[in-house]
C-alpha cells in the first residue's frame, strides 16, 4: 500500500516542528530579555543562510550543478531591498530637514536632497537610472526576485545550452560572481562603489518600534521563509521531477537519451534556486544593516557549498544543519569568546586559527565522511548505503558517491 507523502518523509514534519519550537523559544527568550537583540539578529541571519543553503542543496545536491556563484544572487537580493530601505529612509530625513527650512518641499528638492545624501560619498549628486524604482516598495520587492531570476535565466541558458558541465560550470559561475563584484566595486556603478549600502537596519516609518522588536519580526520572517521554502523544495524533490533531476545529477547523458529535456530541467532548478537565494538575501541584509561588494566575492559562494557539504548533500535538512552549525561556530570562534589553547611554546588564539580548523575539517569531511553531519541522522534512522563495490551512482562529476547515497 502506498503510504502518504508525509509518512514517507518523516524528516519534513520533524524539521518543521523543530523550526516552530525554535521560533517560539527565541520569541519568548527575546521577550523575557534572556537573549540580546544582536544575538536574535545573529540567529535570524543564520536562518537566512540556512535558506540559501537549502537552495544550494537543491542545485548541487539534487541536480549536481556545483554553482559557485549563488551568493551573487543573495547579494543582488540584498542590494535590491537595500535600495528601497536606503531611499525611503533618506527621503524621511530629507523631507524633515526641508520642513525646517520654512517652506514645504517640492518633489524636485526632495529628489535632489536624496541624491546628494546617498551619493555624496562617491562624489555624485544625481540619482542613477537604476534607482528609478527605488521609491516604490512593491516594485523593488518585485526586482528582488525578478532581477536574480532573469540573470540566472540568461546565464543558465547560455551555459547549459553549450553543455558546460562539471568543474567548467563551477569556474564559469565563479567568474560571473567575480565580474559582478568587480563591477559593483566601481564608484560609477550607481550603487555607491565599495561603500555599499548602509543603515539598512532602520525600517522607514517604524522608528517608534525599537530594534529589539524589529529583530524578532525579522526572525519570524526568516523562519517563515525557511519553513515555506523547505516545504516547497521537499515537495519538488519528492515527485517525478525530483527523480529526473537526481538522474541528471548521476547520469545526464542517459536522461537525455530517455527523451527528457535536460537543459530545461537544469535551467528551471538553477533559476528557482537563484530566486530563493535572492529572497534569503533580501531578508538577511536588513538584519545585517550593511551590504557592500565584498559580499559577492567568490569565496562567499564557495562557503555556501562548504556548508552543504558539511551538512551532507542530497538531504535538505543536511544543508540546514551544515549552514547553521558552521556559521554559528564561525560567529562563536571569531567573536573572540572561544577560549584560547595554551600550548606552552605558543597559544592558539581561535580568532586567528579558526579558519585553519575550518579548512582542515572541511578536507576531513570530504575525505572521511562524505555524508557530513546528515550521515549521523541516517545512521540513527537505520538507513544504509547501497553496496555498489565503490562505484559512484553515475558517471557524471556531480553524481553521488557510494558512501553518500541512501539505499
Amino acid at each position: 500500500m502506498q503510504k502518504s507523502y508525509l509518512m514517507r518523509t518523516p524528516s519534513l514534519l520533524i524539521f518543521l516542528a523543530t523550526l516552530a519550537l525554535f521560533t517560539v523559544f527565541v520569541t519568548v527568550a527575546a521577550d523575557m530579555g534572556w537573549m540580546s537583540t544582536s544575538f536574535v539578529k545573529t540567529l535570524g541571519k543564520t536562518l537566512c543562510l540556512c535558506l540559501a543553503a537549502v537552495a544550494m542543496d537543491l542545485v548541487w545536491g539534487y541536480a549536481g550543478i556545483l554553482s559557485l556563484g549563488h551568493m551573487a544572487f543573495f547579494a543582488i537580493g540584498g542590494y535590491m531591498i537595500g535600495m528601497w530601505l536606503m531611499y525611503a529612509r533618506t527621503e524621511e530625513i530629507v523631507v524633515a530637514s526641508l520642513m525646517n527650512g520654512g517652506l514645504p518641499a517640492t518633489p524636485q528638492e526632495v529628489q535632489q536632497g536624496i541624491a546628494t545624501q546617498i551619493f555624496g560619498v562617491v562624489g555624485a549628486s544625481d540619482l542613477p537610472t537604476i534607482w528609478g524604482f527605488a521609491h516604490s516598495l512593491p516594485l523593488q520587492l518585485l526586482l528582488v526576485v525578478a532581477l536574480p531570476g532573469l540573470l540566472a535565466l540568461i546565464f543558465g541558458w547560455l551555459a547549459f545550452r553549450s553543455r558546460v558541465t562539471g568543474v567548467y560550470l563551477s569556474i564559469l559561475t565563479q567568474a560571473m560572481t567575480l565580474a559582478l563584484s568587480l563591477y559593483l566595486f566601481q564608484n560609477d556603478s550607481g550603487l555607491r562603489g565599495n561603500n555599499g549600502l548602509s543603515g539598512l537596519q532602520n525600517l522607514p516609518g517604524l522608528d517608534a518600534v525599537g530594534q529589539d522588536r524589529l529583530s524578532v519580526w525579522f526572525f519570524w520572517a526568516s523562519a517563515g521563509a525557511l519553513g515555506l521554502t523547505y516545504l516547497l523544495l521537499a515537495w519538488v524533490v519528492s515527485g517525478k521531477f525530483g527523480s529526473v533531476i537526481r538522474a541528471i545529477r548521476d547520469d545526464e547523458a542517459r536522461v537525455r537519451f530517455l527523451g527528457y529535456s535536460v537543459e530545461t530541467y537544469k535551467l528551471f532548478v538553477f533559476t528557482l534556486t537563484a530566486v530563493i537565494v535572492a529572497i534569503a538575501g533580501a531578508l538577511y541584509y536588513p538584519q545585517a544593516g550593511i551590504i557592500n561588494p565584498a559580499e559577492l566575492a567568490p569565496i562567499a559562494s564557495i562557503y555556501l557549498a562548504v556548508w552543504v557539504a558539511i551538512g551532507g548533500r542530497g538531504r535538505l535538512y543536511g544543508a540546514v544543519i551544515g549552514a547553521a552549525v558552521v556559521s554559528l561556530l564561525t560567529t562563536w570562534f571569531t567573536g573572540g569568546r572561544a577560549p584560547s589553547i595554551p600550548l606552552g611554546f605558543a597559544t592558539i588564539n581561535w580568532v586567528d586559527w579558526w579558519q585553519v580548523l575550518l579548512g582542515m575539517s572541511f578536507v576531513a569531511v570530504t575525505l572521511f565522511a562524505p555524508k557530513g553531519i546528515g550521515g549521523l541522522f541516517d545512521a540513527f534512522a537505520g538507513l544504509r548505503t547501497p553496496d555498489r563495490k565503490g562505484a559512484p551512482l553515475g558517471p557524471d562529476d556531480g553524481s553521488l558517491q557510494e558512501q553518500e547515497a541512501v539505499e
Binding site: L66, G101, G102, L103, P104, A105, T106, P107, Q108, E109, F155, L158, A159, R161, S162, R163, V164, G166, V167, Y168, S170, I171, L172, Q174, A175, M176, L178, A179, L180, L182, Y183, F185, Q186, P298, I299, I302, A305, V306, A309, D352, W353, Q355, V356, L357, L358, G359, M360, S361, F362, V363, T366, L367, P370, P392, D397, G398, Q401
Partner: protein, 648 residues
C-alpha cells in the same frame, strides 16, 4: 604681454644707460650706483641687462658675486668691489678680479639683493652658463630653460649655439632654440617655420610647447565674433556646451541678468512671507515648483524682489548671442600650423601608443602565463582542480621573502630563492597529492572543495605567520629601471625578465612532456592509467611527481610575481580565477592553448583598459563577461583537443 614688457624694458635700457659694449662692468655700476645699492625688481632690470650685454669678460663674475652677497660698495667714494670676508673685515678685489687690498667692515656696504632681484640675476646669468667651460653646467642651464621656457632665454641661447663644441649639447641647444622660437619669436613666420621644422617628432617637450599655443577660452558675443579674435570654432548651446554653462558666460560677461537659483528663490519667498501667505499663495501650497514660480512672479510685479531671468528670458538671451571658442594666441597662421603639426604628431603617436600597448599586453600575458603554467600541468594535463594553486604561488613569494632575510645580496638571494621556492612548493604539492588528492581522482567537484579547504587554511596560516601587511621582495638593482625606445614606448626590465622566464618555462614544459621519459609516462598515465600500469609504469608515482612539478612551477612563478606585486597572503588568490580562465579559454590539456589563452586575456584586458584608462575594475569586468561569452562559442577553448587525445 610679457614680450611687450620685455621690449619696453629694453627700450628704457637703451635710453637710460649708455650703449652696451662701450662700457665695462665697473663703469656701468658706477653710473648706476644708487640704483644698484637699493636694487628692487621694478627698477633694476636695465642695469642687469646692461651688465649682461656689456661684453665685459668680468660681467659674469660680477653678476654672480652680486647674487651671492659678494659685491660691496666703498662708502667713501662709491666704488664697487668684489668682497670676501677676511680677518680684518673684507678682502677686496676690483671688478676685473685684481687684488685691491683690504678694508674694515665699517667702510664697506655689502649689497644684499632680495629674492626677486636674485632671480633676475640668475636669468641674466643663464647666457653665461650656456657658454660655461664646464659641460655639466651647460647641460644644467639647458635643463632649467627647458623646464621653464621664457622669451628672455631665446637670445642668449641662440648666441651660444655657434660656440658650442660638444655635439650632443649642440643638438640639445638647437632643439631647445627651435622650441623657444615656436613659442616666443616675435616673427610669426619664424614660428610657423619652427613648428613645421619638427616633422613627426613625438617628444613630450614638443607637445608641451605646442599645446599652450592651442589653448582656448570660451567667449560670448552679440552677433559676430569680435574683430581680431582668432576663432577656433563657434559653439552651439545645447550641443557643444550646456545651456546653463552658456548662460553663466553671458552673466559673467554682463550681457544678461543673473538667473534665479532655486535656493535664492526660496530665500526670497521666505523673506516676503506675510501671515503664511506670499505673493498670494498660501505656505502649504508652495510644495511644487509651479506654485513657487507663481508666487515669485507676483512678488516681481509688486516690485518686492529684483527681476530675475525666467526660463523664457534665458532662452531668448541664449538665442541672441553667439559663443565662440577663441585661441588665446592671436595669430591664426601660428595656430593653424600648430594644429597641423599636432595632427601629424598624433598620428605617429597613435602608432607608438599601439606599440606600447602591445608591449604592455605582452608583459601582462606573460604574467598570466607564468601564473597559469603550473595549472596547465595539474589541471590541464592531470585534470585535477587545485584551488590551493594560488596559495602555492604565495608560498613561493614568501620563500623569496624569507631567503632575503638571510641573504642580503639581492642578486644572490634571487638565485637561491628560485630553486628553493621550487623545492618548497614541490614538497607541498607532493604532500597535498599524497594526503588528499590521491583519494579524490575522478571526483573533480570534491577535489575542488577539498583543495579550497586547504586554500583557506593555508591563507590563514600565512596571515598568522607573516602578518597581514605586505612583505618586501626586492628585485636586484640591475632589474630596476626601464628600457625606453622613446617618450612613449618603454618597458621595465623586470617585465622583460618575466617575459623571458615565461618563455623559459614554455620551453621547459615542452622539453619535459615531449622529450623525457617522465613526460612520456605522464602522458600515458593521463590517457589511460590502467593500460599505463600494465606497461610497467607506476601511476601513483607519476601522478605524485607531475603534481609536484606543477606546484613547484607555481612557486617559481610566485617569486617572479612577488618581485613586482605586494607579497601578502592574498597574492595568489588574486590570480587564481584568472589562471583557471586562462587554462579553460586556451583549451585544457594543451600548453599552446594556455599560451594562446594568456595572450588573448592579457591583450584584451589591455585593449579594454585603453578605452577607459582610469578604470581597471571595469576592464576586468568586461574581460570576464567576454570570457563567459567566449566559452559559449568555443566550450573547449581556443585549441581544442580532438579525437582520442580529448579522452571522450
Amino acid at each position: 604681454m610679457r614680450r611687450l614688457i620685455a621690449c619696453l624694458l629694453a627700450a628704457v635700457a637703451l635710453c637710460n644707460i649708455a650703449p652696451a659694449n662701450a662700457e665695462t662692468a665697473a663703469e656701468i655700476l658706477a653710473a648706476n650706483g644708487p640704483l644698484v645699492e637699493k636694487a628692487s625688481r621694478q627698477t633694476i632690470a636695465p642695469v642687469i641687462d646692461a651688465l649682461a650685454n656689456s661684453g665685459d669678460p668680468a660681467a659674469a663674475a660680477v653678476l654672480e658675486a652680486w647674487a651671492n652677497k659678494g659685491l660691496g660698495v666703498r662708502k667713501a667714494d662709491g666704488v664697487f668691489f668684489l668682497i670676501s670676508p677676511s680677518p680684518d673685515g673684507y678682502a677686496l678685489q676690483d671688478l676685473t678680479g685684481a687684488d685691491a687690498g683690504t678694508a674694515a667692515k665699517s667702510d664697506i656696504t655689502e649689497l644684499k639683493p632680495n629674492a626677486g632681484v636674485r632671480g633676475m640675476i640668475a636669468t641674466a646669468l643663464v647666457q653665461f652658463t650656456l657658454s660655461d667651460p664646464d659641460p655639466a653646467k651647460r647641460r644644467a642651464a639647458l635643463d632649467s630653460i627647458g623646464q621653464d621656457p621664457k622669451f628672455e632665454a631665446l637670445a642668449p641661447l641662440r648666441a651660444s649655439i655657434d660656440t658650442e663644441d660638444d655635439p650632443g649639447l649642440r643638438a640639445q641647444k638647437i632643439r631647445l632654440e627651435r622650441l623657444l622660437t615656436l613659442r616666443f619669436d616675435p616673427d610669426s613666420m619664424a614660428r610657423v617655420a619652427a613648428i613645421y621644422g619638427f616633422g613627426a617628432d613625438i617628444g613630450l617637450d614638443l607637445r608641451g610647447a605646442l599645446n599652450p599655443i592651442l589653448a582656448t577660452k570660451v567667449i560670448a558675443a552679440a552677433g559676430d565674433a569680435p574683430e581680431g579674435a582668432n576663432v577656433a570654432r563657434e559653439l552651439i548651446p545645447g550641443r557643444d556646451l550646456t545651456d546653463a554653462a552658456a548662460y553663466d558666460l553671458l552673466v559673467t560677461a554682463g550681457l544678461a541678468p543673473a538667473r534665479l537659483t532655486l535656493g535664492a528663490q526660496r530665500e526670497a519667498l521666505l523673506a516676503n512671507m506675510v501671515n503664511g501667505v506670499v505673493g498670494g499663495v498660501a505656505l502649504a501650497d508652495l510644495d511644487t515648483q509651479v506654485a513657487r514660480d507663481r508666487a515669485y512672479t507676483a512678488l516681481e510685479v509688486a516690485g518686492a524682489v529684483p527681476v530675475a531671468a525666467t526660463d523664457d528670458e534665458a532662452a531668448a538671451a541664449l538665442a541672441a548671442h553667439s559663443f565662440y571658442d577663441v585661441y588665446v594666441e592671436p595669430d591664426p597662421a601660428v595656430t593653424d600650423a600648430a594644429k597641423a603639426e599636432l595632427k601629424i604628431i598624433s598620428r605617429k603617436l597613435a602608432a607608438m601608443q599601439a606599440a606600447d600597448l602591445g608591449l604592455d599586453a605582452l608583459s601582462l600575458a606573460s604574467i598570466y602565463f607564468l601564473a597559469a603554467i603550473g595549472l596547465a600541468i595539474t589541471f590541464g594535463v592531470m585534470g585535477v582542480i587545485n584551488m590551493a594553486h594560488g596559495e602555492f604561488i604565495t608560498m613561493g613569494a614568501y620563500t623569496g621573502y624569507v631567503v632575503q632575510l638571510f641573504i642580503p645580496n639581492y642578486t644572490a638571494s634571487i638565485i637561491v630563492a628560485l630553486p628553493l621556492a621550487f623545492a618548497v612548493t614541490f614538497l607541498a604539492g607532493v604532500a597535498l597529492e599524497r594526503l588528499v588528492i590521491r583519494h579524490l581522482y575522478k571526483r573533480p567537484l570534491e577535489t575542488l572543495l577539498a583543495t579550497f579547504g586547504i586554500s583557506i587554511a593555508l591563507q590563514q596560516i600565512f596571515k598568522n605567520v607573516f602578518g597581514t601587511q605586505a612583505r618586501p621582495l626586492t628585485s636586484p638593482a640591475w632589474l630596476d629601471g626601464a628600457l625606453s625606445f622613446n617618450d612613449v614606448v618603454s618597458i621595465s626590465y623586470i617585465r622583460i625578465a618575466i617575459f623571458v622566464l615565461a618563455l623559459l618555462f614554455l620551453g621547459f614544459f615542452l622539453w619535459l612532456m615531449k622529450r623525457t621519459r617522465l613526460g612520456l609516462e605522464v602522458r600515458a598515465v593521463t590517457q589511460n592509467p590502467n593500460m599505463a600500469a600494465s606497461m610497467g609504469i607506476n601511476p601513483d608515482r607519476i601522478n605524485m611527481l607531475t603534481f609536484g612539478i606543477g606546484s613547484g612551477i607555481a612557486g617559481i612563478a610566485g617569486v617572479a610575481i612577488g618581485l613586482f606585486a605586494k607579497v601578502t597572503s592574498e597574492l595568489g588568490s588574486d590570480y587564481i580565477v584568472q589562471s583557471f580562465m586562462t587554462v579553460v579559454v586556451g583549451g585544457v590539456g594543451n600548453i599552446w592553448g594556455t599560451l594562446a589563452g594568456a595572450t588573448m586575456i592579457g591583450g584584451l584586458q589591455k585593449v579594454i583598459e585603453w578605452f577607459n584608462p582610469s578604470n581597471t575594475l571595469a576592464a576586468q569586468t568586461y574581460m570576464i563577461l567576454f570570457i563567459i561569452l567566449f566559452i559559449q562559442f568555443r566550450p573547449r577553448g581556443i585549441i581544442a583537443l580532438r579525437g582520442r587525445a580529448a579522452g571522450d
